[in-house]
């Protein structure tokens, strides 16, 4: 039995959204003439568009529902994903890393690895990223179909095929520009589509103080209960949070995952590119309003018997939407969820087609071809990528435990990559030999630790220092170990082998790059000023909700 029921007006609202994104696909197709147009949206995006797309690429519906479910289960601890797990990394990317990413006009993160460390490191990362992205796309597609099936009773297969065909049309035609357009659209649809339900819920219950009064006290703190692992429902202490989520996973995702970095690379100039993650940081800190609030609100509404007990914690947000959205608004709410899924898929597919075309096809299969040829390959790869993600979706359908493996992939691919990229950007002594074996070593160790924990071959306290560690806490610590192994192996092997020549790594290493100077700009146009403002708000939020 599904949760809600759609009326004619809801179907019309959903249909209008699909028509809009198909029109966007055809419109942007006319602008995608060169490979830079197709894969980097012509590098003509303003800070606002690139910044919103940067955030939206990570604002999928799965994440929104999952995080709302987490806050229903664990309270405000979940907000760490929007604060320490994101903000320091986003600001660091904007101020310190984008000058190197942007300076050589590269198309992708693996392309940076190629210029800095050579072909082997690029190939390793490109292959890992391509596989991870395709798997993510398939899982995302299956999860979307499942949510829509549970919420409004849609057929699983029909959801998968209709969304796939739509994405194939608009990304195939317009490339990254289409993806970015749909992500900006999704951003506003999610805000305008979901926030009203929270407002109505809070008004209905009698005000925010009434919500707070019904939520356990321990659910209202960020740090107060993290002195020891046993004191909080996540079973993780402050060090695990700061190192695992705040440093390795946060920095690993926001500074090295091409899916998000590609949006910053699409900005029209270096300053706009630097401002992209800084602007996104402000919006990121506002997201708990539609992610953490529903979880807390659901606890309060449940106590007043306004909503039924969620069968799964991830249903918390859906139950609130169902309670407060009559026909019309319900269509808007479902469209917001759909837009989140579609934009997430678009992000995966556009990142996959870029990395495959440039870092696998052009690097290994056809080195010399016209620009037009690579655009054509990008379009074909988009279709192939979508077909492969449908296969992955079917795989996920037949093997529910695959979701657990997906959680692990990020710690396997991105955590070691963070060490490689940080060392590459900030230490000129690191060479290609050390980088390749360090990266491979980190990926292998992370995989071994995951399998060892999964199949109970090793006790969890070896990885996370406590037998009580939750799977999420174990994941944080596994990422820390993978990062550390990569870091140490890369340094040791680089010191034991030859120094890299300085010439080829100019503008790829911080100390060998001429950094932009914004002293001639008025203070409110400087990236440093806005990064300081974001940092200030971040600190205030942590103190207020300590």
């Amino acid at each position: 039995m599904h949760i809600s029921h759609l009326h004619l007006i809801d179907w019309i609202i959903i249909a209008v959204y699909f028509i809009a994104i198909i029109v966007i696909g055809f419109y942007t197709a006319g602008r995608a003439k060169t490979s830079t147009d197709y894969f980097l949206a012509g590098r003509r995006n303003s800070t606002w568009i690139a910044g919103i797309a940067f955030l939206s690429a990570n604002m999928g519906t799965l994440e929104l529902l999952g995080m709302a479910g987490q806050s229903y289960q664990h309270g405000m601890l979940t907000a760490h994903f929007y604060l320490i797990g994101a903000i320091p990394a986003m600001l660091f990317l904007g101020i310190f890393m984008l000058p190197m990413y942007y300076s050589k006009k590269i198309h992708s993160v693996p392309a940076y690895l190629y210029l800095r460390f050579g072909e082997a490191t690029r190939a390793l990362n490109a292959m890992a990223f391509a596989i991870m992205t395709l798997l993510m796309a398939g899982i995302n597609m299956y999860a979307m179909a499942l949510v829509l099936h549970i919420f409004v009773g849609w057929n699983l297969y029909a959801s998968i095929y209709i969304s796939s065909i739509t994405i194939a049309i608009y990304i195939g035609l317009g490339g990254l520009a289409s993806a970015i357009f749909s992500e900006v659209l999704q951003f506003f649809l999610i805000w305008f589509g979901l926030i009203l339900a929270m407002i109505l819920g809070v008004i209905h219950i009698g005000g925010w103080h009434e919500v707070i009064a019904r939520v356990p006290e321990s659910y209202l703190h960020l740090w107060a209960n993290t002195g020891a692992s046993a004191d909080n429902p996540l079973f993780i202490n402050w060090l695990g949070l700061a190192m695992g989520l705040g440093f390795v996973l946060g920095f690993g995702y926001w500074t090295t995952d091409f899916l998000v970095v590609q949006r910053a690379m699409s900005a029209k100039n270096l300053k706009s590119s630097q401002m992209t993650p800084i602007l996104a940081a402000f919006f990121k800190m506002a997201l708990p309003l539609i992610v953490i609030v529903p979880g807390l609100l659901a606890i309060a509404l449940l106590q007043k018997h306004v909503i039924p007990v969620p069968q799964r914690s991830d249903d918390a947000l859906l139950l609130i939407l169902n309670r407060y959205y009559p026909p019309g608004l319900l269509g808007l709410g479902v469209t917001a969820l759909l837009a989140g899924f579609m934009a997430g898929q678009a992000g995966n597919v556009s990142a996959f087609n870029t990395v495959f075309t440039f870092d696998i096809y052009r690097a290994h299969l056809k080195k010399q071809a016209s620009d037009k040829h690579y655009v054509m390959v990008g379009r074909i790869v988009t279709i192939i990528g979508i077909l492969l993600s449908i296969v992955t979706a079917y795989w996920a359908m037949s093997m529910p435990s695959i979701m657990d493996y997906m959680q692990a992939l990020f710690a396997i691919v991105n955590a070691p990559l963070l060490a490689t990229i940080l060392l590459g950007m900030f230490c000129k002594r690191i060479n290609g030999f050390g980088a390749f074996w360090g990266l491979l070593g980190g990926m292998v160790i992370s995989t071994i630790l995951f399998l060892g924990l999964k199949f109970n071959v090793m006790p969890v306290q070896i990885v996370a220092f406590t037998p009580l560690a939750s799977p999420m806490a174990a994941n944080f610590w596994r990422a820390v170990w993978a990062w550390l192994i990569t870091f140490i192996v890369t340094i040791l092997l680089s010191l034991l082998t030859a120094k890299p020549a300085v010439g080829p790594i100019k503008e790829l290493v911080y100390r060998l790059t001429i950094l932009p100077n914004y002293r001639h700009d008025v203070w409110f146009r400087r990236p440093g000023f806005w990064a300081s403002m974001a940092l200030f708000i971040f600190i205030v939020l942590n103190i207020v909700f300590w």
């Binding site: 407060y324 009559p326 026909p327 019309g328 608004l329 808007l332």
Partner: protein, 69 residues
């Protein structure tokens, strides 16, 4: 003619959504369903108007963006 920006697409979409949701709110206020109270229908009408105004603002942003070099 300058190219359309994303703000134009969002503006038009929000104008349409504003009209549809306000219309639905008014219709269901007179033909209420069993699951919802008047608060939800009033919210629907008001939110439709908010979406419509947001649509106009996005179209104005589009006009501004197209004037920029």
């Amino acid at each position: 003619m300058q190219q359309l920006t994303i703000w134009c697409f969002i503006g038009v979409l929000f104008l349409i959504y504003g009209l549809l949701i306000t219309g639905a709110g008014i219709y269901y206020l007179w033909h209420p369903l069993i699951n919802y109270g008047r608060m939800e229908y009033h919210a629907s009408i008001i939110w439709g108007i908010v979406l419509f105004i947001a649509g106009i603002i996005f179209l104005l942003i589009d006009q501004q963006a197209r004037r920029l070099p």
